[in-house]
Amino acid sequence: MTLIEPRIIKASSGYRGGRLVSRPPLFVWIPAILVLAAMIVPISYLVLRTIGAGTETFELIFKPRTFDILTRSLLLMGSVSIGSILIAVPIGWLTVKTDLPFRRIFSVITILPLVIPSYIGAFILVIFLSPKGILQGWLAPLGIDRLPEIYGFPGAFLTLTLLTYPYVLLPVRAALIKLDWSTYEASLTLGVTQIQTFIRITLPMLRPAIVTGTLLVALYALSDFGAVSILHYETFTWAIYIQYGNFAREVAAALSVVLIILAISLLYMESRTRGRAKYYNVSTGTHRRQKSIRLGIWRWPAVIFCISVVSFSFVMPVSILVYWVIRGISFSEQLTIPWSQLGNTLYVSGLAALVAVAAALPIAMLSIRYPGRISTLLERCSYIGFALPGIVVALSMVFFVIRYATPLYQTLPLLIFSYLILFLPAALSSINTSFLQVNPKLEEAARILGRSQLKAFGTITLPLLIPGLLAGASMVLLLTMKELPATLLLSPIGFKTLATSIWWATEDAFFTKAAVPALLLIIVSIIPMTFLVSLDQKRKGS
């Protein structure tokens, strides 16, 4: 075991890597502070609105019902997080490290639920699994008259877990691909069993990926409205939307402040558990060609596991969408492909992905290369937007921009900026995970040899970060593609995306018209995902 131990060096021993420069350079600081300033927009709006509220508002907040809502939010958050880990870690390991049959297809399909909007996912889940849903119809010959109630916790848990586990899967995959094979082999050579090796070697190495991914899942569960409203599970975000619906802006703002406090405590806890272990290779690391682990007879349970996840999270929604389209055609409904919406969707989400990655990079660099109170605070702050319901962020932008930056109101840059506030952590988490695996000494060596700081970073570290950058960009891409509240409220007038088309159609019960853009959304996201996965395979082989 001594062979393995030094690879995880505890920083508590005071080892700081003997850095050449202890202060972060300007090209990291300035963008990082700009990003922080952006996060302040929604918070200050909420504080303003809450202060403006009367005592009546606080009576509405401090009552037993709010406590129930809090408990429910926490329960959902916790269970969805655990559920996501239990799905994502095995799938990640199976699709990256083993000889799982059809693993390329599984690699792509298991990530795609990320692009299914939660209100569609929930709506379809109800159609399928509700007491008298499609599944009950199949089981009726067996004498099953009614399935157990799906509304409330079970439905919300199921929908959110099935749609959010890819947040854990993406960073876990990225980490597994970069995982040093020799550690694993050394462990096996020393006679440790496969399972023990996984638990003692692989899992600890995956910890940062799992933790950052799970944080995203937890915050998503906290801020989701689509699924909890359709499945009627009263969480904080649900209550916030309901207050806006009742024209009680102040109550909504005050509830959002509570939500932020909840998110901040979560972020604090996460940073406490993160620890200071280092995850990079101390040696130069000979990445030998990796052999896949042979699953043997275990391949069949593994395939069944993957198939069952995929059938609920992907096949079920897609087949219902396809059914809607076929039914529409049989009623001779005219189907048109919404090209302009497709173009708009790709344009804004591509831009958002690019901007988010560019903004996340300096923050990741700051928090990992220059750990300290301020850089940690900065990194933590960037997660707040993700915890907030989209409508809160959108209204805060309306409030500030129309007053202090009128020409920007309802423009594309504003929309992209709002996406940045909402989705920055998605990019950040992947980049952070990659960053942790890069040995800072490589860059330091380049600096000793006379390269400038920027050049050393650009030529040494950046290339090593590419898997993380791509994973982060694709996560933001998929998130933006389905984003709704900010797109509805902040986009330039007349600007339509696939997500807004889907929303309108389901809202007014035009199911066929909803299915076409929804399928299109899934189809176009297959392309970047396939690219990402094939890049992974290539990288692993090289």
């Binding site: 008298k132 708009n344 690019l354 900026f417």
Partner: protein, 363 residues
């Protein structure tokens, strides 16, 4: 191991990404801006170039009604007047919240809302309308302050599954649903603003006490709560619930999507009362509007024969002009025993929300 030669000169890419970010974050990127305007006008005008000698001007509509429902008729208005129209679609309640945050800087000229509650919440931001427009519709279909006007009518209804029930099984009044025999059979959507308007009508016709008793009676019957109308209809058709309290027109959308076999039908309580109330979707002109004349033209057009016929035929709503025929598949308006509730009383959404909170229906 990565060979650096595989990634030559990544620094310029990194810098380029940053250069891209700066203009986007700091100033309106004029290039993409014009691109978008061009794009949106071509969508809205349907590719018809708007050539005009006397500039017909602009009109910005914030629509709380969906594009699939009102888009075609707005398009007709644009074709008829050559006015350069931009529409922002959203949910009525969220658009109302946006208007309140925008305040007097709002770019909107028209707020087209799906219910009187949405219009009422921003009534202070609306300009008084001329009697010429207001008098086009009956008194129950317009703002008591003359700030907005109804453009189409919709009825509250009870949706039931004809496979399980007949109209004779249903109570003749909404209060009948508090009977314990309806336990576990009801669906409702208390967060839905049309539902809340019905509760406001209950308060106006029954009084606070009876309305409270009704809410508590329904809750005692353990209703299934839905976020809105559409899933309630689906649940009725699937026999998950026996009855749902909804607006009338969703049924006809389902019949259009799924055919006549869709197992749900509408019932208007035979003794009338708040359960058979008829309300409106309507619109008003913002007092900060820069195009109030075009706004007036828009309202006049929406209350013209072709537009009212459109609502009757295409969206299955009730036309508000007397001489326009109701869609034959709907229950005629004069067969629905609608309660007499003054519009001024319907504006009291706040009182209803408070009652819903006190009874624990809403948080």
């Amino acid at each position: 191991m990565y060979h650096l030669s595989n990634f030559p000169k990544l620094k310029p890419i990194f810098m380029a990404i940053w250069l891209l970010l700066i203009p986007i974050a700091s100033t309106a990127c004029s290039n993409s801006d014009t691109e978008m305007t061009a794009d949106s006008t071509s969508i809205i005008s349907g590719g018809i170039p708007v050539v005009n000698k006397a500039d017909p001007g602009n009109l910005i509509i914030y629509s709380g009604r969906g594009e699939l429902l009102v888009g075609p008729i707005i398009q007709q208005f644009q074709d008829a007047t050559s006015i350069n129209i931009s529409v922002k679609y959203g949910q009525t309640q969220e658009i109302a919240a946006t208007l309140l945050e925008e305040g007097n800087k709002s770019p909107a000229d028209i707020f087209f809302a799906s219910d009187p509650g949405g219009l009422g919440s921003v009534e202070d931001m609306l300009a008084p309308l001329s009697n010429e427009i207001l008098n086009l519709v009956p008194e129950w279909a317009r703002s008591s302050k003359g700030k907005w006007v109804g453009l189409s009518g919709r009825a509250r209804t009870v949706v039931y599954n004809p496979k399980n029930l007949t109209e004779a099984d249903l109570p003749n009044d909404m209060y009948g649903f508090t009977d314990p025999k309806w336990k576990n059979r009801i669906g409702w959507a208390p967060t839905n603003s049309s539902f809340q308007t019905m509760v406001t009508a209950m308060r106006a016709t029954w009084g606070e006490e009876k309305t409270r008793n009704w809410l508590e009676g329904i809750q005692a019957n353990k209703p299934t709560t839905y976020p809105k109308n559409v899933p309630q209809l689906a649940a009725v058709a699937a026999s998950e619930i026996d009855v749902g309290f909804v607006n009338h027109y969703y049924l006809y959308r389902f019949l259009a999507e799924e055919g006549e076999t869709f197992s749900a039908r509408n019932y208007h309580p035979s003794a009338g009362g708040p359960g058979s109330m008829v309300m409106v979707a309507g619109a008003g002109i913002l007092s900060t509007s820069e195009n109030p004349d075009n706004g007036q033209k828009f309202l006049q057009f929406m209350l013209s024969k072709p537009a009212q016929q459109y609502f009757a035929r295409q969206t299955f709503e009730y036309p508000l002009l007397e001489d326009i025929k109701t869609n034959p598949i709907l229950t005629p308006l004069n067969e629905i025993k609608k309660p007499h509730v003054p519009v001024s009383k319907l504006a009291d959404i706040r009182g209803t929300v408070n009652l819903l909170r006190e009874t624990g229906v809403l948080p």
